[in-house]
Structure formats: C-alpha cells, structure tokens
C-alpha cells in the first residue's frame, strides 16, 4: 500500500496514532504502522522519533524488565494527535472536494 508520497509521511504522527489505542514497544509500532497505515518505519527513524516525542512529553516509557520497552501516549500527546488529525481531516476534505470538481474523482 506504500505510494510515492510515502517518504513524506509524518513519522511522529504515525507513531502517535499507533500508540493512541494501547502501549506498544518499538517492533509492535513498526508492525502496526506498516499494517494499518502502509508506511515502513526504519529503526533509525523510529527511535529518532521516539526520542523526540519523549523529550516533548508526548509519549512516555513504561517500566519493563525486557529490552522491549513499551511506550504509551500522554494526555499532551493525545491532544496534539487530535489537533493534527482534525487539521488533516480538513485537508483531506478539501482535497477530495477539489479533485471531485476538477477530475470527477469520487474517492476510494
């Protein structure tokens, strides 16, 4: 399901969306993002994003005896994700409407 705009996907948003329902560790995040959003996150990209999101308090690590430490989204992270999702919905709506008007495209 990957497409030509794959490389411009917003990895922090993908990670936040993946963690929105339940905590996950690194491998589970990459699997979930690949299966549900069609984007493959590399190890370097994923942990650069995790470090950044954790630094900004948008996700937090959970205690774990295993090396596979799970992360969960924080309240601040959930708010940021909700705002961004709203914005993206508007963009998607406008895009669909204009494509429909110009090209007669009816959407997926």
């Amino acid at each position: 399901m990957t497409d030509r705009l794959d490389r411009w996907a917003d990895p922090p948003l993908l990670v936040l969306a993946s963690l929105a329902d339940e905590p996950k560790h690194g491998y589970a995040i990459t699997q979930d993002v690949a299966e549900t959003m069609g984007v493959r996150l590399s190890a370097g990209t994923l942990y650069a994003v995790i470090a950044r999101l954790e630094a900004r308090g948008l996700i937090e690590p959970l205690e774990s005896d295993d090396r596979r430490r799970p992360y969960r989204i924080t309240m601040a992270g959930a708010e940021a994700l909700a705002q961004q999702s709203e914005r993206m919905s508007k963009v998607a709506s406008v895009a669909r409407e204009r494509l429909s008007t110009r090209l007669g495209w009816a959407g997926a």
Partner: protein, 282 residues
C-alpha cells in the same frame, strides 16, 4: 548485529545508554539488515547536533568536559611553554615589531591567570574527592588525585638530573632538548589524566563540580587569549625575523601552530560544554 552495534557507536553516549538495547531488540525482531544500519547511521549526526534534553545528565556532562578540558589544557600549556622556551627566553624580538614583545607579555599574563583560575576553581572539588577517597580507603583514586603534584615533581627532578649530567655551558644538545620536551608532555598528560580518572571513578556532583566546570570555562577563555598571543608572535617571527634559526622555513611553525590551535579548540569547546551544563537550568 555487528553493523547495528557499529552504527549505534556513532550516537552520543547518553542516547546509546537510553535507547541502544531497545534498538538492538527491534532489529533482532524485524530482521535488520543493511537498511536498518543505513537508517541508524543517517540519524546519528542529528542526535549529536540536537541532543535530547531528557537524556541530559548534567553532572556526567560536567565531569566528561572537565576531564577532556584538563587534558587538552595541559597539552596547550605544554605547547605554550615550548613557545616561551624557544622564542621568549631567547629574546627573539626584532626591532620595529613591538607586537612580538606585546604578545610575549600577554602570553605570560594569560597563561598564569588561566592556571590560577583553573587551580582555584577546581581546588574544592579536588579536596572533596580526596576526602572521600581517603575515607573509603580508595588508594588508587588517592594516587590519581595526587598525580598533578607527583608527575611535575618527578619531571622537574628528572630535568635537574638530566641537565647536570648531559648539560654544558651552552645548555643541552638538541637531542636532549627533544627528550626533555617529550618527557614534559608525558608528565603533563599524566598529571591531567589523574584527576580525569578520579572524576570518572568517584562521579562527584553538586556545587563543587559546578564551580570547577564554571572555572574551567573562564580558564579556557583566558587561555584562548594566550593562544592568540602565540599565533601573533610565531606568525610575526616568520614574517619579519627569518634571521633567527627555525623561522626561515614556515613548515615547522605551521605544524606547531596547527597543534596549538587544535589543542585550544578542544579546550574551549569542551570547557564551554561543561560550563553550559553548570549554568543552564534544566
């Protein structure tokens, strides 16, 4: 996994300590491969330029900076003393170029001030580490802490004996001068390594560490002025005093100046990072 471990080695230690095991587990689970290694290598550089604040261990940063700055400062001071020995003490000062004499004066003053500031600023930390090492009977750390006294004293004793045995009315030969100079750098490195090792092993923190890190920053800034004085004097001698031995060819002076500037840069950058960790609120 060797490639992944090698790629992780490119990351800052604090990043590696926090996420290294998780990345290895992820790569084990996902199969890894060259793509994983490439992505880790690609992301390593930004991890240095934009260090994550939540990973920032300020006392560790100050200790690491102090150790590095102390070593590079010692090398810079040694290079400066070679400059003083080769030029200033031989009164190489051609008429019509007062900036050379000015540079000598600035160098003397700033080297002394820099050493004094570093010594006074680090004294409390040194005393506290020494007290702890003695209280906990850590003999090796006690020896490390005394190396800044032992190494120069041993060097001076060796110097006196060497000059008496190998010296003449006109001084020592060029070969012996090289030996004495190299031994001086070895003594300076040993003296600097002692407190650096003690810092790593005893892991002090608190106001004394912050004071030492701040003093190191001020000392390095003053030493930067000494470096400028060295550059001005050596460049001037190359331009206008080619009649003096060693200044008719710019190669040696160029190598010397490159070493001086490198040591000064390492000292300044390292001390500045330690001072920032000491002063900036988390």
């Amino acid at each position: 996994m060797t490639g992944v471990r090698a790629a992780l080695a490119l990351y800052p230690p604090s990043w590696r300590a926090r996420y290294g095991d998780e990345v290895l587990a992820l790569v084990e689970d996902s199969g890894g491969g060259p793509a994983a290694v490439a992505s880790l290598v690609w992301r390593a550089l930004p991890a240095w330029f934009w260090p994550q604040r939540h990973l920032h261990d300020r006392p560790a940063r100050m200790r690491a900076s102090l150790g590095t700055a102390l070593m590079s400062w010692s090398m810079l001071a040694g290079l400066g003393l070679v400059f003083a020995q080769l030029t200033q003490l031989q009164a190489l000062a051609p008429p019509g170029h007062p900036q050379i004499r000015w540079a000598y004066a600035v160098f003397d003053l700033t080297l002394a001030a820099s050493a004094l500031i570093a010594g006074l600023g680090g004294l409390l930390l040194w005393l506290l580490m020494l007290r702890r090492a003695r209280r906990e009977q850590r003999i090796r750390d006690t020896v490390y802490l005394f190396l800044p006294v032992i190494a120069p004293a041993a060097y001076l004793a060796g110097l006196i004996v060497t000059v008496r045995l190998a010296g003449s009315v006109s001084g020592v030969s060029q070969g012996w001068f090289s030996v004495i100079t190299l031994a001086g750098f070895a003594a300076a490195a040993t003296a600097a390594a002692g407190p650096g090792l003690a810092l790593r092993r005893l892991q002090p923190r608190g106001p004394a560490l912050r004071l030492a890190a701040t003093a190191a920053g001020v000392s390095a800034a003053v030493m930067a002025v000494a470096t400028v004085a060295i550059v001005v004097a050596v460049t001037s001698l190359n331009l206008w005093a080619r009649q003096f031995p060693g200044y008719h060819d710019g190669t040696l002076s160029g190598i010397y100046l490159a070493l001086v500037v490198t040591a000064a840069t390492v000292t300044t950058v390292s001390a500045a990072r330690g001072t920032r960790a000491a002063l900036v609120q988390p």
